[in-house]
Structure formats: C-alpha cells, structure tokens
Symmetry: C4
Subunit: 207 residues, 4 copies
Amino acid sequence: MAVEAQAERDTTRIEAFSDGVFAIAITLLVLELKVPHMGDLPEPSSEALSAGLAHEWPAYFALVTSFLTVLIMWMHHHRVIRLIRRADVPLLFANGMLLLFVSVVAFPTALLAEYLGTPAAPAACAVYAGIFVGISTAFLVFVLAAFRKGVLLPDVSPASVASIRRNYLAGPPLYLAATIAAPFSPWLAMAICTGLWIFWAASTREC
Amino acid sequence: MAVEAQAERDTTRIEAFSDGVFAIAITLLVLELKVPHMGDLPEPSSEALSAGLAHEWPAYFALVTSFLTVLIMWMHHHRVIRLIRRADVPLLFANGMLLLFVSVVAFPTALLAEYLGTPAAPAACAVYAGIFVGISTAFLVFVLAAFRKGVLLPDVSPASVASIRRNYLAGPPLYLAATIAAPFSPWLAMAICTGLWIFWAASTREC
Amino acid sequence: MAVEAQAERDTTRIEAFSDGVFAIAITLLVLELKVPHMGDLPEPSSEALSAGLAHEWPAYFALVTSFLTVLIMWMHHHRVIRLIRRADVPLLFANGMLLLFVSVVAFPTALLAEYLGTPAAPAACAVYAGIFVGISTAFLVFVLAAFRKGVLLPDVSPASVASIRRNYLAGPPLYLAATIAAPFSPWLAMAICTGLWIFWAASTREC
Amino acid sequence: MAVEAQAERDTTRIEAFSDGVFAIAITLLVLELKVPHMGDLPEPSSEALSAGLAHEWPAYFALVTSFLTVLIMWMHHHRVIRLIRRADVPLLFANGMLLLFVSVVAFPTALLAEYLGTPAAPAACAVYAGIFVGISTAFLVFVLAAFRKGVLLPDVSPASVASIRRNYLAGPPLYLAATIAAPFSPWLAMAICTGLWIFWAASTREC
C-alpha cells in the first residue's frame, strides 16, 4: 500500500515537471511575435500598422503549427504517463531528452517566422522539420521506454498500447522526408508538418 | 472507486497544465513594459526618466486590462473544471483552443502599449478587441463542452450552470462590437473591453 | 467529508496558480541581466568583458533584492494558505491583486539595474520602492482577507496569526518611507528595501 | 495521521515551487538562441542562413550543457525531497538559495553563447564555471540540510543517503578548478563542466 502511494507520487512529479516545460515552451512562442515598428514614419497610421501586421503571416502560421503540434503531443504524453506504474531511470532520461527538444521549439519557430516569406525559406523549413525529427524521435523513444514490462501498469490492454505506438511511428520518417524535401519545396515540407499534427489530432480517440 | 480516483486525476492534470499556461501568459505581460532609454542624453536625469515612464501609460493600461481579464477568466475556468466529472476529447480540444488564444495575449497587449497613444490606435484597438473575440469565443465553447451530459458532475444544479453560461454569452458579441467600433472610436473599444472584465469580476458570486 | 475534500482541492489550486506566478516572476528576473556588448571593438578581449560585467553590478544587486523579497513573501504566502479552510471570493480577489503586483516585479528591477549607477537613480529608486508599497499592501490585504472568521481553519492559534500579521504591517509604511526618501537619498531607499527582506527572513520561525 | 497528511502536503508544495523554477529556468534557455539576422543583404539566401546558423554553435553547446546539468540536478533534487519527512526553515532557505542560483543559469549560458568563439572566451568560461560553483555549493548545502536528523524520513538507509552526498561533493571543487583553469584553457574548463553532468547522469541508479 505504501509502495503504491509512493509510486503514484513518483509519476505525479514527472507529470508536473513535464507539464511545466510543455506549458512554458508553448507559451513562450508568443515572444516570437514582434510588434511592427515603423521608425522611419513620423506618424504611424492605422493603414501602415495593418500592413505591417499582415506582412507577419509567416509568424502566425509558425506559432499555430508549433503550438498545436506540441499541445497534441502533450495530450498523448499525458495519456502515456497514465498507463505507467512507475518511472525508472531509462524513462526519466527518455523524458529528459524529450523535454530538451520541446523546450527549444521556439527557436525553429522564430526562424520560420522570419524567413518563410524570403528566399531563405528552404533552409528555414529544413531546420524546422529537422528539429521535429528530433522531437518526434524523442517522443517515440519515450513511448517505447514507457511501454516496457514492469513500467507499464499490469492491466493495460495491448490494443490500447499498440495504437499509440503505431500513430507515433509515422513521426520520425515523415519529418525526415519533410527535412529532405524542404530545399526543393518549402511548401511541401510545411504541408507535411501541418498534416502530421492534423493526423495526430484526428486519431485522438481518448485521453 | 478506482475509476473515480482515475477520473479525479484526469481533471487534475488538465487543471495543472491550464493553470501553467494561464499563469505564464499573464506573467509574461511584464516583458512588454520597456525601460525608457535616453541614449541621446549624455547624463540621464531623474526628470527625463520620470517623463519617459509617464509617457508609457498606454503600456500600464494595456497590462492591467489584459492581466485582470485573463485572471478573472482563470477564476471561472477553475470553477467550471470543478463541476466536471471527467475530461473527454471534445473538452480537451476546446481547452486547447482556449489555451492557444490565452497564450498569445501578450502580443495584442504589446501592440496596444506601443500604438494606443498614436494615430495608429484604431488598428491597434481593433486587433486587441479582435483577439478577445477569439479568447471569449474559445472560453464559451469550453464552457459549452464542459456543460454536456456525461461530462458534468451529476449533482450540479442547473441554476449554477446557467448563470456562468449566461455571463459569458455576452463576451463574443460585445468584443465584436468593440472590434467594429475601434476604427471610429478607439476609446469606445477600450471602454467596452474594460467594462467586460469589471462585469465578470462583479458577477463572481462564488469560486 | 466530501465537502472537506472539495475545500482541500480548492486551496490546492489557488496554491498551484499562485506558485506558478511567483515562480515565473522571480525566474523572469534573469532576462534583465544583459550580456555586455562590445560592438565597437574589433576583437572583444577577456579584460573588456570582465569590465563590462563588473559595470553591471546594479543589475546583480537589483536581481538579488527582488528575488529574495519575493521568495520570502512566497514562503509566508505558503504558510498563510496552509491556515485557510477555504478560498472565498474576497480572498481570491486579494490574491489576484497580489499576483498582479508580483508579476510586474521584473519591471522596476530592470529600471533599477539600468539607472542605479546614473544621475537618474533617485527616480529609479522611488519607482522601485513605490511598486513595493503596492506589493506589500496587496500582501497585507491578502493576509487580512485570509485571517477572517470562516476562512481561517478553526484550530489556528491567535498567537500564530498575530505574528504574521504584525510582521507584514511594517511593509507598506516602510516602503512608503523609502519612496519618499529616494529623491533625496537613493541609498537610504535601497537600504530600507534590503533591510525589510532581511527582517522578514530573520523573523521566519516556521513554514 | 492528520499531522502526517499535513507534512506530506508541505513537501508537495516545496516540490511544486522548485519544479516550477527548475522548469522555467531551463525552458528560458531557448531565448538565448538568436535568429541570425542578415540585415545588410538585400535578399537573404539559404546559404547565408545556414552559415549564420552554423556560426552559432557555441550557443547550442551552451544550451545543451546548461539544460542537462540542471535537468539532472532536478532529478536528484526530486529524489532527495522524496527522502524528507518535512521541510523546516533551514531547508527552505537552502532550497531558496539553490533556486536563486538555478534561476540565473540563462545569464552565464548567454555569455558563453556569445563569447566562446571569441578572444574573450577565458572570461566567459570563468564566469560560467564560477556560477556553477555557486549552483553546486547551494545544491550540496540543500542535500546536507535535507539529510539532518528529524528532517529525513526515519526508514531511509544510510547507504542510499551516502551515495547522493558523495556524488555531489565533487561539484564545488571541480567547478572551482574549472573556474581557475578557464583563463589558461577555456576548453579544459568546458571539458570539466561537460564531464560533471555526464558523471552525475551516469551515477544515477534510481530516482
């Protein structure tokens, strides 16, 4: 009984710390939205401000894509943790690597915001998709570390486990394809990144 | 009994993650307050610094308005979650959309801080009120998703539910009116935004 | 019993949200530390970097003062919440005002960091102490709202309550004195601000 | 029984607050990664952006080193807190000093990011290692404060306690050696800093 309570407390604190990093990482994305500056105009007009804001569409696209991808990953992280009996050292390290990748998501997002509408879009999109190769690989490793015997709760049905693992197996190869495609077609790369979060959102049956 | 405990834990983690995003979103607002720089003066005087700080009044107004609106929304979010038995997928997505809108609140706040005292105030106020159309609509969708059968706790009184829903029905149309009014009268738009958080604060009977 | 459990959960969530704002507010202080830039030097030397870092002493002093003052206030906030049976609406609003003041602490800290070593120090110190008049008044109102009948736990000893209230009564008048003294002697103002957190730290008997 | 529950709640809130500061401190590191700006080029090319990103390698090295050092310290902080029966005033102050040091980790990291590839690397590395003398000393004081009689849980085995304390005794002298070595060999200093987090990661037996 005491052991059970201790184990419960264990996953609770990993949840709390991971939730903190996920929540901060997606909320920091707003700092990449820049207020348009019109320093050379003597009197900034509403028209100039509206044009400046419209010009920043890559920043809005980048923020929404990164926010929703990480938010949906958090929902599945949440579900995986609930199936775990206790957090052992391999799981803690897998989770730590995932948090490292999630915590830097604001950087490729800012890169995309700044360069998606420029001739440097291929490099920006390749870096963006490349970071998500890392994020999705880290998440897959975390899922595999969680679904080992002795870590998983004894009464979890194999079907429930299999569907989560299967859905996330698509992540690393497809993000890698996006990374490779980016130099030729940044838009194809972005379409793959967008398609992936829509797929994971749509395949969310329960949480 | 175990199912009950599991359900309890479910809403606990949604609360924790949402609390994190709400708390970070309102605390990041301070980053929009800029220390006045007097680079062209050889020796900055107390008088120049005081004048520089006084000149930033739109930033203080914008921060207080955004902080209190989101803080009061958090108090009601808190109360709604307490009436919920379990978080299903539609509720999680409604909550996710709400968090997306809440997380970007620092951006329209910074826009208002920079342009409220300039001829571009109409555009800045329209964007500010427009983002709050999104925030309040997302909150209303969250409330409606929470107050469905099977999600709500069985012993919640209909009157308690009805008053929360009714108070927040005012949000989207009034923020929309503020957005439409902003090009003609930025001050009317700001008065509506201020009036709304005062109304929600004043109508808070219990939490 | 169910009511008891509900009440427990209530203060838990206020604690969690308040902890979030306190933790973010003091961790954001690091963003006010600026890496010295030596743009006009062709090759930045270790000597120039060391001199640049030494020149930023007001920033280190400001960060440590603000961090410790808010950290110790969090410790007492923590202790007060533990004496509470349930959070009612007045307490929630008092706590909200406190969080608003705590969340902006990075701004006067940055002001102090930038201007303490300049002729504008009187204005910077007056604003810094003035914000802490607000923070300490909000904390006192929070303590008074918490120590009302029906909010406080029934078995709290009057002596325990009285010592916390008494210690924080010193805050608003002494910070006000620092604000008034700042135009004449910025150093006296800073000495009062430093003395106050040392006093609150030293008077912490249990937590 | 009620006393036990109260004690449990006590360490829970210290955990939550500390987790918040640790999580925010390592997630804020991403703000030190700067999007390369090519303001003088009329049309930024993918080649120029890639070169700009590659040029920022010290920033990536600094982020990964700081992130992993603090993450592993959090894992051990987590484990130490679990061995504690209650948090007394000395432990709270030791924890507060640790949080102060952890919260500023973004500053030496930014310093390293900016100056590791320049002639000012000796000063940057000395400051970086010097801050970690402070962090590791604060962690050691926290461990010693936690492992006192009356604070530690009664059923903790002396061997378990001894291994944690022994592993962290290496921190302050080795970081001090790195600080002293930095002016002569910044790379030796960085090798010591890297070696330390690898040692602490590798010596993590359970959590």
